[in-house]
Each structure stands twice: as C-alpha cells, then as structure tokens.
C-alpha cells in the first residue's frame, strides 16, 4: 500500500474506560500535543479534563516517525519533525510540517536537513530553526516563504534547539561534541560554542530569558547558561543513572523540571537555589523523554516512550495525579501557551 502524507483528525471514543467521549475536536482550548514516534500520530489531550480529545495521524506507524514538536506563539499551529526509520535511505517521510490545530490541515511542509528530530519557532512566529544531525548544522527557514535563510555549522551530531524569549539567540546542542552552539538570529551566524555536559540533548530557555538549561544524557547533568554572556554558570549533577533529556521551566521561571529516561523520574530543580528539591518517581511512566508545564504552572506532563503514556504531575504536591494512555513511543510534548481557544 502506498502511503501518502495524510493528516486526519480522529475522534477518540473511549466510553466505559473512564475516558469520556471526546468533545468537538475543533475546539482548541487548553491542549497538550504528544508526538508518538512509533505510532505515526499525535495525541491531543485537554489539559483541563486530562481527556484525550483527538488524534492527528501523520503517517503509517513504524514508517512516519513524528518526534520533535513546537507550537507557534499564538498556539494555533503545531510544527512536527517527521522522519523515517532508515537513516541511510531517502524517503518521503523526512520533513517538518505545520498543522493548523483547529482544522487539522497541513498548512506547511518545510525542508530542512536529513533525519529531522528537533526544532524551535522564533517568538515572532516567522522562522523555524531545525537541527540536521547527519550534517553538523542547523537550518533557519522562513516560514512564510518556505525558503532556507541560512545553514549554520554546529558541533557534531546536533540535536536540541532552543530560542531565547526575545528571539535574539538560538542555542543548538551537539551530542558528540558536547557543545552548545550560539546562533545570533540577526545575522544567522554561530557566534560561540560552549562546552557542556556529556551528550547534551535538550536546551530550553527560561521564560524570563535570564537562563538557558541544557540536559546531558550520559553526563547526568543539567548545565545552566547565562544568555547575557553565553557561559555556563553552574552544573547540577542529577546522577549517572538518570539519563536526563526533556526540560521544562515553570512560567514564573522559578522551577525547572527535567525528566530522567533511565531513572523514570522527574527532577524538580529550584532555580533560585540551583539545587534539586524533589524527585518524582512513584507511579511515573517508563522512559519519560518529553516534558511540558501548563501555562498556569500547576501541572506537569511527561511523554513516556516505553509505557506509551503521559504522566500528569501536580506541581504543588510534586506527585503523580494520573496517567493518560497516549500512542506508541510517546516522544515529545508541547502545551499551548494560551489558555483559551483561538
């Protein structure tokens, strides 16, 4: 069967299992989007009710692999990195796409390099930066014209991409070089390369823009970078058995949440004291890889790749509230920055 890029919004009716029948899928209020790497789809969760309200089918399971996610600043568009399971083979499943959340339509499809994995959207919504793992660079794409603006060299095996809240800086992690490349978005040039922990994966800026955080999967650390100087100011040890990957920062920038893929846990870091104040372990899903915080800061969601679910954590009590069945290989999660609809 020849598969094409198809995108459907599917209602999920799960009556009798404690999950309510989905409301109107067109209603796009408080939503979390979870990419399911092996399921070929995206699960949509209403973060008020914690019910699944829809599913975006990206492509055939096992072939189309949606991984990295980013939301437009207005929350109306979700951007998805799609790749295939064959790093050596060219296929139709290697692109970044933009999906209109309300209609479920593809509204853009963008080139980048090979093996798309992670991306970020600038705060003005005009540009996408995506890492090209095989080619040791990051691509800047103009989202209006679908034109590549620049290809910027990074370290070896670039992965995580983060943009500062003011849109001035893009940071790119490189897994083999253990570096973060600083890209000046005004010139689209790399201005500096910062040494961080071993095998850095994800980089996230705090909403107040005063810090960036980098997880190091093999080093088991969280590096704190001062964006005004582009220097590591502190490294927090999470543990050699942690395998930290996903990072989320609370809306007030006071808490940092880091998921550990091997410890099956969430580290809660006090951003003022720069220390781990709690570790959420009980009832956690397996291999949490992605993490996001609701706009009000009250709930934390983790995408769990081995248990194919999403864990919901009460941020105040720092304990698990519930688990939500997602799709196969939950990878990344994004929550709409705005609380209400369009």
């Amino acid at each position: 069967m020849r598969w094409r890029v198809c995108l459907l919004v599917a209602l999920v009716f799960l009556g009798g299992s404690g999950v309510r029948a989905a409301p109107n899928p067109q209603a796009v209020g408080r939503r979390a989007f979870v990419s399911n790497e092996f399921g070929g789809d995206i699960t949509i969760i209403d973060t008020q009710s914690d019910q699944i309200v829809g599913r975006l089918v990206v492509g055939p399971p096992g072939i189309a692999r949606p991984r990295g996610l980013a939301l437009s600043p207005d929350g109306r568009t979700v951007y998805v990195a799609v790749t295939d399971p064959w790093p050596k083979r060219k296929s139709e499943w290697e692109f970044y796409m933009a999906v209109d959340v309300a209609s479920g339509r593809i509204i853009g499809k963008y080139p980048c390099g090979s093996d798309p994995e992670r991306l970020t959207i600038t705060p003005d919504g005009r540009r996408m930066y995506c890492s090209n793992e095989d080619e040791a660079n990051v691509t800047a794409v103009d989202l209006r014209t679908n034109r590549i603006l620049a290809t910027i060299p990074t370290g070896i095996e670039p992965e995580g991409v983060g943009v500062s809240p003011d849109g001035r800086w893009v940071y790119v992690t490189s897994e083999t070089s253990h570096t973060v490349t600083v890209v000046d978005t005004r010139t689209n040039e790399a201005t500096k390369h910062i040494l961080v922990g071993t095998r850095p994966r994800v980089v996230v800026f705090a909403p107040d823009g005063k810090r960036a955080y980098v997880s190091a999967e093999i080093g088991g650390t969280l590096s704190i970078i001062d964006p005004s100087r582009h220097e590591v100011t502190k490294t927090i040890t999470l543990g050699a058995d942690a395998k930290p990957v996903g990072i989320a920062v609370s809306p007030d920038s006071k808490r940092v949440y880091v998921v550990g893929g091997r410890c099956n846990c969430v580290f809660v870091v006090d951003a003022q004291a720069d220390r781990v104040i709690a570790q959420v372990k009980e009832r956690m899903g397996r291999r949490p890889w992605g993490v996001a915080v609701t706009p009000d800061g009250r709930k934390i969601y983790t995408a769990n790749g081995r248990s194919d679910d999403v864990t919901v954590i009460d941020a105040a009590r720092m304990s698990v509230i519930r688990s939500i069945k997602a799709g196969r290989g939950a990878h990344s999660i994004q929550i709409r920055p705005q609380g209400d609809g369009n």
Partner: protein, 456 residues
C-alpha cells in the same frame, strides 16, 4: 573490495592520501605543551601500508586497518570540535607493523611532541608500547588487544584498554548463550524491544588451541561457567595443535552432543574449523572467541563463504554491531559508513572511541600531565559516551574500559556489508533503572579481587 563497495578504490585512496598530506604538514607544527593549546595524539597503525586495504580476512591487519579508519574518523570530528572551542587537535598515524617498529615510531612521535599514544593489535606490540609509555611517562590506549595478560601480570600504570578484555568477552559469551532469552532494544519493533528466544546453552564443548594464551582463555571460560554464569557445564574439552585436522575433534563432539561448540582458536583456525565442520554434517551450534579481526564484516563474509550451512545464523560476540539501533548508535554507524565507506565494526569503534576519549580527557581534565590524567581516569572524574547508552569509565584496578558488548547474528552473503549480519542483543542491560552504571557494567570481566595486576 570486500567491505568497501560504497566508495571506489580511487575515492578511498584520495581520502587516505589527503590524510597523508595532513600528516606531513603536521610534522612542521610545533609541539603543544599546554592543554589550552591543543593535544597531539600518535596512532601506531599495525599495517604495512597506510593506504592499502588488507586482503586476508583472518589477518590482524584487517582489524588494524579498520582501527586506522576509526581513528581518522574520530580525529576529523574532534579536530572540528576543537576548532569550535578555539583549541587544536591533531592525530598522526604512522605505520608500525612490528613491536620493534612500534617502539621506534613511538619514540619518534614523542620526540615531536605527541603526548598520548594509541595502537596495539597483538600482545607483543601492545606490551612493547605499554612498556615504552611507562618509561616515557605518557599514556597509551590499547585499542586492539584483548589479551588478559595486559590487564594482569603485564599491566602498566600508563596503559588503558579500550579493547574489551578476554574476561569481558568470555563473560558476555557465557551469559548470552546460557540465558537463552534476550531483550533487544529495537525502536522499530512493535513494542520497542525484540525478544530473542533461543534454547539455553547448557552443555558446552570447548575446542582450544594449545598456545598458552588460548589455554588461559579456556581456564577463564571454565571459571565463567562454573562460578559466575551458572547453568552451563562443560560437556567436552579438547586441545588442538595448529595445522592438525579436526576429525578427532568432530568424533568427540558427535559423542558429547553439546548445545554449543566454543572455538578458543586463532582467527585462521576458526575459519578452518568452520570449513571442515560444514562438511562434517554435524549440526551443533558453533561460535568463536571474538579476536578483533573476527568481528569484521570481512571475516563474517569469509565465514559465510567457508561454511554456508553452519555460519548462517551463527551468533558472534562483538564490541560493536553496526546495525544496532538504540542510543544513537545507528546514526553513528551510518555517519562513518557514509564518510569512509567502511562499516563501523568492533575494531573501528575501538579506535574511534579511543581518539574521541583522549580529546575529551584532556579537555575535561584541563591538563596534559600524564600522572594527573591517570588519576582522572582511575577516579572516574571523566566519563565517556561511546553511543552505547551508558556512561563509560575505566576500572581503577586494571585500567579496562567498562562497556556493554553486543551480539551479531550472521544473516547470509550480501554485497552490502551491513546486510551480512544483524544485531540481536547487547549485554548487560543498560536500561534497567536504579543501578549505578559502573555496577551494571562490572558484570563483565574480572573484579578487583580477581586481578593479578600490581602497578609498578
């Protein structure tokens, strides 16, 4: 061209020549004395010719040539990384096919400012370079000799071993075959893992070469079966001399009816055995001790050609299997294949990892002082990523790299070297939560109380 179908000879030659030019230019460079200036690494390539791919699939030169490719691949990446950080990194590869040549070349390299040496694809060469390194007070990384003596009675304070030890390989073989069930992380499998089922190996038949090193490996195998990996027993145990036919051995195997025949034989004799065994009609499963050359696609191809009936489906222990998919390993393997036209097999990985680790060691520790580097490695102050899914460190008691090992299953003859075999497992399980990585990895190899190493 064996494993090099993906690039032409001309392309390979031009790449290697380009590195030859680079090496010549390097000779004009001044020595760098401080880590902030950079680090120069010497690679003692145990090949006669740095440009010609060896042809004998059972020759250690095949492994050494692969190692050279791995070293150059890492040097290219680390040079680029160093440049990003305002530093310098240089690798000089020289031909050193004998212990005498290796010692001579090592001295020349040190005279030119090299601070760290890599190499060693047989015991005599690795020991000679380790002894030189001890005298010169510089670090030596053994990338191609599993020989247990280097980690025991012939250990050296300045020598570290990236190549897995005899004991690590033997423990991995024992555990894998006795277990009979394995979970392979495979992101493309429906559940994210593949369950590999096989009949547990209980009755082992050992076929051992009469040289002392192979007898030492036989004794370590007995320890593994009798004291560490319970459930296996030795159903047969024969020693064979070099060049002698295997007819008597086959009769003994037929009588013992083992679950597995383990060949503790040199690579060329393993090939001889497979060839004769294929014709004998015997059907008991066979595997062999994984000397580095036996982990190459060239050797796998030779096995499949020599013994099409027996070799197909055979399981071999390796340091690295290029079809393994987890932890970013497939991306690494494909990067090397695309750039160098060579599969990332065990010997390639060992040298790639060693060169990368040397750069990271100097970068992270901020020193070129050999004693401080030794201290940093022994204390685990610097941990390394080998794309094996877990932090890797060196053991303080014998300077052996802690690392998971992999299992390859021979699939069948193919023009594509990647299709000759497939990954079917790794050991230990690095994903099990709640345990310190060192504790997990120390399931393989000799423990502190078992080592005979006494630092001089």
């Amino acid at each position: 061209m064996g494993c090099g179908e993906r690039i032409t000879r001309r392309e390979l030659l031009s790449r290697l020549l380009a590195y030859g030019v680079g090496a010549s230019l390097w000779r004009l460079m001044p020595a760098w004395a401080a880590p902030e200036e950079g680090v120069q690494v010497g690679y003692l390539a145990q090949v006669d010719d740095l440009r010609a791919r060896p042809r004998d699939p059972a020759s250690s030169e095949v492994a050494a040539f692969g190692g050279l490719i791995g070293a150059r691949a890492a040097a290219e990446e680390m040079t680029a990384t160093a440049r990003l950080l305002g530093r310098r990194f240089a690798l000089l590869a020289v031909s050193a096919p004998t212990p005498e040549a290796a010692t001579h070349q090592a001295k020349r390299l040190v005279d030119r400012g090299v601070r760290i040496l890599l190499g060693g694809f047989d015991f005599e060469t690795a020991r000679a370079v380790a002894e030189f390194a001890q005298r010169a007070r510089i670090l030596f990384f053994n990338v191609g000799t599993p020989d247990g003596r280097l980690r025991n009675e012939a250990c050296s304070r300045y020598a570290f071993h990236v190549e897995a030890s005899d004991a690590q390989y033997i423990d991995a073989i024992a555990d894998w075959f006795i277990r009979g069930l394995a979970f392979l992380v495979d992101e493309d499998a429906p559940e994210g893992v593949r369950i590999i089922r096989r009949r547990p190996t209980r009755a082992w038949f050992l076929v051992t070469h009469d040289a002392p090193i192979w007898q030492a490996r036989r004794r370590r195998m007995q320890v593994a079966l009798e004291q560490r990996h319970w459930g296996g027993r030795i159903a047969g145990d024969v020693t064979v001399r070099g060049g002698v036919a295997f007819d008597e051995v086959f009769r003994a195997i037929r009588a013992a009816r083992p679950d597995l025949v383990l060949l503790l034989l040199p690579p060329a004799r393993q090939l001889d055995f497979y060839r004769a065994y294929d014709r004998s009609g015997l059907a008991f499963e066979v595997t062999g001790f994984p000397e580095p050359v036996t982990q190459t696609r060239a050797f796998f191809r030779a096995l499949l050609l020599a013994a099409p009936r027996v070799a197909r489906g055979a399981v071999r222990t390796v340091l690295w299997e290029p079809t393994y998919k987890a932890h970013g390993s497939l991306e690494l393997s494909n990067r090397l294949l695309t750039r160098w036209g060579h599969p990332m097999d065990g010997p390639v990985w060992a040298s790639w990892f060693a060169v990368k680790s040397v750069w990271e060691l100097v970068l992270r520790s901020g020193t070129l002082d050999p004693d401080r580097l030794v201290e940093a490695l022994e204390k685990g102050a610097v941990t390394f990523d080998g794309h094996k899914g877990i932090a890797l460190t060196f053991r303080p008691w014998d300077h052996q790299l802690r690392q998971p090992l992999a299992m390859s299953r021979l699939v069948g003859l193919s023009q594509d070297p990647m299709e000759l075999a497939e990954a079917i497992g790794t050991f230990p399980n690095v994903l099990a939560p709640g345990r310190d990585p060192n504790q997990v990895l120390d399931q393989l190899g000799d423990r502190p109380g078992e080592t005979r190493c006494r630092w001089r």
